[in-house]
C-alpha cells in the first residue's frame, strides 16, 4: 500500500482549510484543543508503521538505493548500500565514479570511516557517541529506550499536513524534534543537531513514499536538508532478516591496524 498517494490527496484537500485556519488563528492549534500526550503520539507512530511485534520480528535490514545531491550538489548521484542489524551494528557503503568509495560502520563499539579521500579513521568523542546512537536498530520503534523525556508542544502544518510536534530528549540529553501526522500517525519530518568532523550542524529529514515491507511501513524516499542544501535518498530495495556473512560488521583490516597501533603506542 502506498500511503504517499493518500497523503498527497489529503494535502490537496486540506491545504486550503489549513491556510484559512492559520490565517485566522495564526496557528493550527486552537486554544481550546487539548494536545495528546507525546507518549501516545509516539506509540501511535509505532502502531501505524506495523506495531512493536512486527518490529520485533526484524533482526536486520539491507537497503540499497541512490542519493541524489540535487541542484546544489551539481546533479551528482551516488549509489548507497546499508546493512543494519540489532542491536546497533551497521555498515554503509557509498560508491560513485566521480567521488570514489566511502565506507563507514560500527560493530557496536568501534565507530569507523574509510574513504579514498580521507583514509581510515576511528571516530572518537562526541562524533563517536552520536554515530553510535544513530546506529541503534529501529531506534524510533523503541523510542522509550532512546528518549528520557518526550513532550508534545503543538500542532504544526508540515507540507500541507497537520502534524503533532514532539520534542524528545535523548538519553544523552540532546534534543530531537519529530513531526507526526495527526491523521496517519506517520513521521513527516524530523530535526536534530548532528555531530561531525565539520562541527555541529542542524539537519532536517522528510521521510515519504511509505511502503510496507515484512509487516512494517518504511519510507522509500527521504528528503534531507542540511545547511540549506537539499538531498534526496531513494531506496530501490529493502530486505529484512537477510542471512548476512559472519564478518559483515567486522572491522576492516585498515581500522584494526589503527587500533593495534594505538594499543601499541599506549604500552
Amino acid at each position: 500500500m502506498k500511503l504517499n498517494k493518500r497523503l498527497k490527496r489529503l494535502s490537496h484537500v486540506m491545504f486550503s482549510m489549513i491556510f484559512l485556519t492559520a490565517a485566522v488563528t495564526g496557528s493550527l492549534f486552537s486554544a481550546d484543543e487539548v494536545l495528546p500526550e507525546a507518549e501516545k503520539i509516539l506509540d501511535g507512530y509505532v502502531d501505524a508503521t506495523g506495531g512493536l511485534a512486527a518490529y520485533d520480528r526484524i533482526q536486520n535490514r539491507v537497503t540499497k538505493g541512490t542519493l541524489d545531491l540535487g541542484a546544489t550538489g551539481m546533479g551528482i548521484k551516488l549509489s548507497i548500500t546499508s546493512y543494519n542489524a540489532r542491536p546497533d551494528r551497521s555498515y554503509n557503503l557509498i560508491e560513485s565514479d566521480a567521488l570514489g568509495k566511502m565506507e563507514n560502520g560500527t560493530d557496536g563499539s568501534v565507530v569507523w570511516e574509510n574513504s579514498t579521500m580521507q583514509g581510515a579513521q576511528v571516530k572518537e568523542g562526541k562524533e563517536r557517541a552520536f554515530l553510535l546512537k544513530m546506529s541503534t536498530f529501529d531506534r524510533m520503534a523503541y523510542w522509550r529506550k532512546a528518549f528520557k523525556k518526550v513532550e508534545c508542544t503543538g500542532l504544526e502544518d508540515i507540507e500541507g499536513l497537520p502534524c503533532y510536534k514532539v520534542v524528545a530528549t535523548a538519553v544523552d540529553g540532546e534534543p530531537e524534534t519529530y513531526w507526526i501526522d495527526k491523521e496517519t500517525n506517520l513521521l513527516i519530518k524530523s530535526e536534530m543537531s548532528m555531530e561531525s568532523q565539520m562541527g555541529t550542524v542542524k539537519a532536517q529529514m522528510f521521510p515519504g513514499d511509505y511502503e510496507k515491507f515484512d509487516g512494517i511501513l518504511v519510507p522509500k524516499s527521504v528528503k534531507i536538508i542540511v545547511m540549506g542544501m537539499e538531498r534526496t535518498a531513494t531506496m530501490t530495495s529493502i530486505e529484512h532478516n537477510v542471512k548476512l556473512p559472519e564478518d559483515r560488521f567486522a572491522l576492516p583490516p585498515e581500522i584494526q591496524a589503527l587500533l593495534d597501533k594505538k594499543k601499541a603506542e599506549k604500552k
Partner: protein, 450 residues
C-alpha cells in the same frame, strides 16, 4: 528511521570550490545570432529570476556587500525584458552576478554542455599544443613544454615569448584585460586564461603561433593540436576537465625529495590513490622533504584538500579553515592519516593557483606545516556549486565565505607565499625553474640545520 544519518554527514563534505574556469569556454559567436523566440525569451526571464532569487536566498552575506539587491533587480529586469538575442540576455544575467564583485559566480552557456558527450574530434576545447605559459612583465612566456607534445616536436622552448596566436596579436589583447583587472588579485589569472584560451582548439587542427626566441628572433610554428594530457573527467554539472597528477623523486646533491604535482582537486578515483601511494612511498623511504606543486591548479573538492593535508598533520582537531554559510559554518577538519610525514613540506603556488588550492596552501601555511614558495594565488576561494537554469545554462554561485585558520579572508587577496619567487625569462631560457629550485634549496638547508 530507515535512512542512516551517517550518510548526511558525508553529504556535508560534498560541496565544491571551483575556479572561474569558464571564461575559455563561453559562447562561440561563430555565426549570426538569431532573434529569440517568445518561449526562449520566457525561459531567459525565468533564468534571470532564478539567479536573482538564489543569490537573495542563499548568498552567505545577507547584506550583499552593501548592494541594494532589490534595486539591482529593478534596474536590470526591464533590460532583460527587452533582450532580443541570447548574447544580450546572457550579458544582462552576467551583469547581475557581476554586481557582487566576487569570484565563483559564473554563467556557463548551454553550448558548453551540448559539447559534452560528443566525440573528442568534434569538441572545440580538447585540443592543445602542449605549451604552458605565464605572464611576466605583461608578456606571455612559455613556462613548460609537455614532453612528446606537438609543441616540443616543433622545437618550442621555455622562455620564448608568444607574440601571436592565429590572427590575434598578443600585444593588442592583453593591455585591455590588464586594465580591467588592474587592482584585482585575478589579474594574472585572467591574462593567462586569455592567452591559453587561444591555444585551444579542435584536436587535429593546426594553429599558427609566432614566438620571440632567446635571441628575440621571430619564429613561426605551425602546431597540430592533440588531446590534452590527463584523464577527461566530468563531475555533475561541471564541464569536463582534463585532470592529471605526476609523482616523482628528485635527487639533488645528497638530498632525496618527494615531488607531487597535480592540476585539480578532482577525479578522486585516480588522483587520491596516486597521491596516497606517493606519500606512503615517501614515508617508507624517508625522503628529506616533500614538494607539493599546485601552480596552475584551479581547485576542486575541498574534501580532497582535507584528505591530502591529513598526511602532514599529526594533531587531531586542526583545520584548513572554515566555510561560513548564511546561517551556519563548516569546519574544514584535517583527519590525520595513520602514518604522518614528519619532514619539511614545501608548497609551490602562483597566480593560477585558485580556489581549493588556496585553501590547501593557506591552510597548511596557517598551521605552520608547510613553507609556501612562488607568487600570490588568485584570491578566488569561495565555496560554490552549479545549478541548471530554466534556459539550460549553468549557474555557478558561491554559497559560503571562507576564512583561513588564522581568520584571514583570502577572497580577493590570495595566499601570500612565505618566500616570493618569480620566474625570469633568462632562467626559463636556461630551462630553470626558479620556484622549484628555491624550494629544493630550502629543504636541503633544513636538512643541514638538523
Amino acid at each position: 528511521m530507515i535512512v542512516n544519518r551517517r550518510f548526511i554527514i558525508i553529504l556535508l563534505m560534498i560541496c565544491l570550490v571551483i575556479p572561474a574556469v569558464f571564461a575559455a569556454c563561453s559562447g562561440s559567436g561563430e555565426s549570426e545570432e538569431p532573434v529569440l523566440m517568445e518561449a526562449q525569451r520566457q525561459t531567459n526571464l525565468e533564468s534571470f529570476a532564478k539567479i536573482w532569487t538564489t543569490i537573495r536566498d542563499k548568498h552567505y552575506d545577507p547584506e550583499f556587500g552593501g548592494l541594494d539587491w532589490q534595486a539591482v533587480h529593478d534596474e536590470l529586469l526591464p533590460k532583460m525584458e527587452k533582450a532580443q538575442k541570447m548574447s544580450e540576455a546572457r550579458a544582462i544575467m552576467k551583469e547581475l552576478i557581476a554586481r557582487l564583485k566576487l569570484s565563483h559566480f559564473n554563467l556557463i552557456p548551454v553550448e558548453v554542455y551540448e559539447k559534452i558527450g560528443q566525440p573528442d574530434e568534434k569538441g572545440s576545447f580538447d585540443g592543445v599544443t602542449g605549451i604552458d605559459l605565464r605572464i611576466y612583465d605583461g608578456k606571455p612566456l612559455v613556462t613548460s613544454v609537455q614532453e612528446g607534445s606537438p609543441a616540443q616536436m616543433a622545437g618550442v622552448k621555455t622562455g620564448w615569448e608568444i607574440v601571436q596566436i592565429g590572427k590575434t596579436e598578443i600585444a593588442s589583447l592583453l593591455p585591455a584585460i590588464a586594465k580591467e583587472f588592474e587592482n584585482s588579485s585575478l589579474k594574472e589569472y585572467y591574462l593567462c586564461t586569455a592567452v591559453k584560451a587561444r591555444l585551444l582548439g579542435k584536436i587535429g587542427d593546426s594553429l599558427t603561433v609566432r614566438f620571440l626566441d632567446g635571441d628575440n628572433k621571430t619564429l613561426r610554428k605551425d602546431i597540430t593540436l592533440v588531446e590534452q594530457q590527463g584523464n577527461k573527467f566530468k563531475l555533475g554539472h561541471l564541464p569536463p576537465m582534463y585532470i592529471w597528477i605526476k609523482t616523482d623523486t628528485i635527487k639533488r646533491e645528497n638530498d632525496t625529495i618527494g615531488y607531487i604535482a597535480f592540476n585539480g582537486f578532482l577525479d578522486i578515483p585516480r588522483v587520491m590513490p596516486a597521491f596516497n601511494k606517493a606519500m606512503k612511498s615517501f614515508i617508507d623511504t624517508g625522503v628529506d622533504g616533500i614538494i607539493i606543486d599546485i601552480r596552475g591548479n584551479g581547485g576542486g573538492l575541498p574534501m580532497m584538500a582535507m584528505g591530502m593535508a591529513g598526511w602532514f598533520i599529526e594533531e587531531k582537531g586542526r583545520r584548513l579553515g572554515t566555510m561560513y554559510l548564511r546561517d551556519n559554518e563548516m569546519k574544514m577538519a584535517v583527519l590525520p592519516r595513520p602514518e604522518i610525514y614528519p619532514g619539511p613540506v614545501a608548497v609551490l603556488i602562483d597566480g593560477l593557483s585558485a580556489s581549493c588550492s588556496e585553501i590547501f596552501a593557506g591552510g597548511l601555511k596557517d598551521l605552520g606545516r608547510a613553507r609556501i614558495f612562488g607568487s600570490t594565488t588568485a584570491g578566488a576561494v569561495l565555496p560554490s556549486t552549479i545549478e541548471m537554469l530554466p534556459n539550460q545554462d549553468g549557474f555557478q554561485y558561491a554559497f559560503a565565505n571562507y576564512r583561513s585558520e588564522k581568520g584571514d579572508v583570502l577572497e580577493g587577496v590570495g595566499v601570500i607565499p612565505d618566500v616570493e619567487v618569480y620566474q625570469t625569462r633568462e632562467a626559463l631560457l636556461q630551462g630553470k625553474d626558479r620556484v622549484l629550485e628555491t624550494a629544493l634549496q630550502w629543504i636541503g638547508e633544513t636538512k643541514k640545520s638538523k
